[in-house]
């Protein structure tokens, strides 16, 4: 065989290699970075110039000599300075048998979110233990999180065996201890390997000293472990990313197959909705194929003209995914901003974004002890079990069945940050049984009787800005004009409907949610509703806005400076707050987020309440709210 043919054959083989995604967890002290560095080094993945840089930098961090493999991995400058791994770093190496993507994640408890992020795409987890220390709280935490994210294959890497004299009994005790814990939390497959990353024992090369160990080396295991892709055996699930329409003759639905196999001629259903058709054509790029398996990015054309949009799922009509809008989920808080019940979020699940609210936090899980504790909010890195409601029903699978159909991220509507993630445990039956009562006399009919267009005048502003005063004046004038109104006032509502709520951030969110729901019912009844609440948070005001039709929500910022309000202090509240007798008081120790684009901005520092009320009436007349 000529050299050229030999090279071609080698490259052909490389093209068909498999890929394995790994997660490594454990702290710097356990020698995690050293282990990965050792893996890269001994498998020949480091280039000469990388080795030269490593040798040069090692002289600074390890004056006593040797290679400091951790330098290869701690990427960001801040991390190098602090000597810790903060974020998830991805590493790549390959051997003759496989290529590997390593998500290297930090070990400390305050980096739970980073570990979850790295774990979400991993198929195998390497859990590091220091042989001298045995199982630590940290080890249990990592095992719990690995299990939570659905990784089924775990290697317990018992490192630093050189520090315990390569003692088999030490290894066996740690292995058995962990096996008991794994059984308790339900980790299915665990392999324990005794290694010394520093000396290279049982990482790539077999240990010369630990001859009592007859299992595979770490690399042997990684090169041979068989990981089944999620959902390969279930019915077809294709979440549609985008519709491809180059011309009148072609309409294709593009997406990545989340489960099952697509075949030409197969009968499919589009969920939600259940419209059915058959697969006419499957495109892999510009190539038409008869079938495509889980994980492929495809474009599918259907026999019939069914209208499918982004976010819908094309599924095997013989085994359709369940559809629901209420779930029990595991949630992880991933931002400084806590996750709170009642607050309006966006959820991205599959290729769909929906509005969502946590309806109830059942409990928080202590990731170290697995204890359950009650919680009103989930703070950064908290893991909890919650009920969550979406504003639309979505097709899904439980996370245990399919990561891509049962995992979602939670996005803050204002900052657009990803503030958390969730994993569906099960749907709530309740959702199936609640149907909207359809009525014959509707909102339009009720409003027509009253000769007005129903709406909510939502007054917001600091305590003492004059919200109630102005609202009262407006209501009085409307009444004089023969209009039907109702005033919802902060104090009155808190004496009745909301008397179970206090003034913490969670309770404020719930307070406004209830007020918005009540306002919506009154609008449905055809009324002009005036609501006068401090309503300090943009997110909650937006929630109220989104519950109503576009022109039904009129946000009125009664804008008075803090000095003016403190000077007025009609209820003596500022005085109390300053003395510390009142906590969570807006403007003092709780923030007020002014509206960015209110329909009306009223200058309550300089204008009198009467003239402000005039302006509101004028607005309603001009916009034809009053016939």
């Amino acid at each position: 065989m000529s050299t050229a043919t030999q090279i071609a054959a080698t490259l052909d083989a490389l093209q068909h290699k498999g890929l394995l995604r790994l997660l490594t967890c454990g702290s710097v002290d356990d020698g995690k970075s050293t282990l990965i560095g050792r893996l890269l080094h001994d498998s020949g993945a480091l280039a000469d110039d990388q080795l030269a840089t490593l040798e040069k930098e090692s002289r600074r961090t390890m004056p006593q000599g040797g290679l400091d493999f951790s330098l290869l991995l701690d990427g960001l400058e801040a991390e190098r300075e602090q000597g810790i791994t903060i974020d998830v770093a991805y590493r790549y190496f390959n051997t003759a048998k496989r290529t590997f993507i390593v998500a290297d994640t930090p070990g400390h408890e305050q980096y739970t979110r980073n570990m979850i992020t790295g774990a979400s795409s991993a198929e195998v987890a390497l859990l590091l233990v220091d042989a001298r220390k045995g199982l630590l709280t940290q080890t249990r935490r990592h095992a719990f999180l690995v299990n939570l994210t659905g990784i089924k294959d775990v290697v317990l890497v018992v490192n630093k065996m050189d520090m315990v004299g390569h003692d088999q009994a030490v290894f066996a005790a740690i292995r058995d201890n962990f096996a008991a814990y794994a059984a308790e939390i339900g980790l299915p497959r665990v392999l324990a390997i005794p290694v010394s990353a520093l000396g290279g024992d049982n990482v790539v090369n077999r240990s010369a000293t630990m001859t009592w160990y007859d299992g595979p080396t770490l690399l042997e295991y990684l090169e041979s472990v068989q990981v089944a892709p999620y959902g390969a055996a279930s019915g077809l699930r294709l979440p549609v990313q985008t519709v491809i329409r180059p011309n009148q003759d072609f309409r294709g639905y593009a997406g990545t197959i989340a489960a099952g196999v697509a075949r030409v001629g197969m009968s499919v259903a589009v969920e939600p909705g259940g419209r059915t058709s058959r697969i006419k054509q499957i495109l892999l790029g510009d190539r038409a194929v008869d079938a495509a398996e889980t994980g492929r990015a495809v474009t599918i054309a259907l026999e019939d003209e069914v209208d499918v949009s982004r976010g819908e799922v094309i599924a095997d009509s013989q085994s359709r995914p369940p559809v629901s809008d209420q779930f029990t989920v595991h949630m992880v808080a991933m931002s400084e901003q806590a996750l709170m019940p009642g607050r309006p979020y966006l959820v991205q699940i599959g290729t769909r974004q929906v509005g969502a609210q946590i309806t109830h936090i059942k409990h928080k899980i202590n990731v170290n002890t697995l204890e359950h504790t009650a919680a009103k909010r989930l703070e950064l890195n908290d893991v909890g079990v919650c009920n969550i409601g979406f504003d639309r029903a979505v097709p899904f699978e439980t996370y245990a069945d399919n990561r891509n159909m049962g995992g979602f991220i939670v996005i803050d509507r204002i900052s657009n940050q990803t503030v958390g993630c969730g994993m569906i445990v099960h749907p709530l039956r309740r959702a199936d049984n609640i149907h909207w009562q359809s009525v014959i006399v509707d909102k339009g009919a009720r409003a027509a009787l009253k000769h007005q267009k129903p709406c909510v005048l939502w007054f917001t502003g600091l305590s003492g800005a004059g919200k109630s005063t102005v609202a009262n004046l407006v209501e009085k004038r409307l009444a004089a004009m023969g209009r039907h109104t109702y005033l919802l006032d902060g104090d009155n509502i808190r004496h009745g409907l909301n008397r179970d709520l206090g003034f913490t951030d969670e309770d404020r969110v719930e307070n406004i949610r209830r007020v918005a729901e009540v306002a919506k019912l009154f609008v449905d009844a055809g009324m002009i509703v005036l609501s006068a609440f401090i309503s300090p948070f943009r997110a909650e005001r937006r929630l109220a806005r989104e519950m109503l039709a576009e022109d039904e929500f009129i946000e009125i910022h009664v804008d008075a400076s803090l000095e003016t309000c403190q000077g007025r202090d009609p209820k003596g509240l500022y005085a109390k707050a300053r003395q510390g007798k009142l906590v969570h008081f807006t403007g003092i120790d709780s923030p007020y987020e002014p509206p960015e684009h209110p329909e009306l901005h009223l200058d309550a520092d300089h204008e009198l309440a009467e003239s402000l009320a005039d302006r509101i009436i004028q607005y309603l007349v001009e916009r034809k709210y009053l016939e």
């Binding site: 071609a8 110039d49 990427g75 903060i86 979400s120 982004r310």
Partner: protein, 298 residues
């Protein structure tokens, strides 16, 4: 079970489709190199039989190899895509020159500032780039959907967590997302994929006799008459090729006889140096890439 290349291909197409579906006005940055060629190929696949719903843009520093520009224009003609070429005219007026001002100033003005100008000018809210995480340490932590503030800054300490195959592309007015579909590819993957898919690349990647001068331990190609020889330097003809392509005064050639695709991949497999070694920009100082990226460099 899908192989490595198939999984990478599917992931990249998923990312490209997701960005195009979520963002209003994306653009694909086309730098003419092998990674860009792969990215463009994947974009064509992602939307076939339709055309990708975004234009291509090349930020031209005016110091690219002539063969790169020829290749760019030829590909644009053949494939019939929309190509925007942007040059930082302020930099041209100031006569920015990598030989005179050094690589750091040249790269900042002609590349980073040029890119920001172009993004602002057209109002793009997403820009695809062909960067890979295995190229450099600070890239290893960058997200696939990497958020940029209204003044194009990257905040490595405040990145959006990225889970499963879910990418959060929500931005407010003026903010944008840099999208890196090839994040998980290695240099070897890129070449094997080029081989499998028959993707055309710039001939400079293949060895040929070329006029070069030895400077700073690297072979510099005399691509045009703007190269000024220092005393003692002389231009000679050698068999060389390039592992990465950028501005010719900043890109070192390696001596090689690898004339075919199989030969260059084979040479890479047995070679013992990493690809960015030929890039003079990375060696300015430790952490230099991270600093440049914070300022808006790709």
């Amino acid at each position: 079970m899908l192989g490595n290349l198939d999984r990478l291909e599917a992931e990249s197409i998923h990312i490209i489709r997701e960005a195009a579906a979520q963002l209003g006005k994306p653009v694909m940055l086309y730098s003419i190199g092998k990674d860009s060629s792969v990215m463009l190929h994947l974009a064509m696949k992602a939307f076939y039989p339709a055309r990708p719903p975004f234009p291509l843009m090349h930020v031209d520093t005016t110091w690219k190899f002539r063969e790169m520009i020829e290749f760019r224009d030829q590909r644009a003609r053949e494939m019939g895509f929309d190509l925007i070429v942007h040059v930082n005219q302020d930099g041209v007026r100031q006569g920015i020159n990598p030989f005179v001002h050094g690589s750091a100033v040249h790269t900042d003005v002609m590349k980073t500032q040029g890119l920001k100008q172009a993004l602002d000018k057209y109002g793009f809210d997403a820009a695809f780039g062909g960067a890979r995480r295995d190229e450099e340490k600070s890239r290893a932590k960058e997200r696939v959907f990497s958020f940029r503030s209204a003044n194009h800054r990257w905040d490595p300490k405040n990145q959006r967590p990225e889970l499963w195959n879910l990418y959060n592309g929500r931005v407010s007015q003026g903010e944008s997302i840099r999208v890196f579909p090839l994040s998980n590819w290695t240099e070897l993957d890129v070449w094997l994929y080029i081989r499998r898919e028959n993707i055309p690349v710039v001939p400079l990647y293949f060895a040929a006799p070329r006029p070069v001068v030895q400077r700073g331990g690297a072979w510099l190609m005399a691509d045009d008459d703007r190269l000024q020889l220092a005393p003692g330097e002389r231009i000679e003809e050698r068999w060389v090729r390039f592992r990465t392509l950028g501005c010719w005064p900043l890109t070192g050639a390696v001596e090689s006889r690898a004339e075919t695709l199989d030969e260059i991949i084979h040479e890479m497999l047995v070679s013992r140096s990493s690809e960015r070694q030929g890039r003079l920009i990375d060696h300015d100082q430790a952490g230099s890439m991270e600093r440049k990226k914070q300022e808006g460099y790709f």
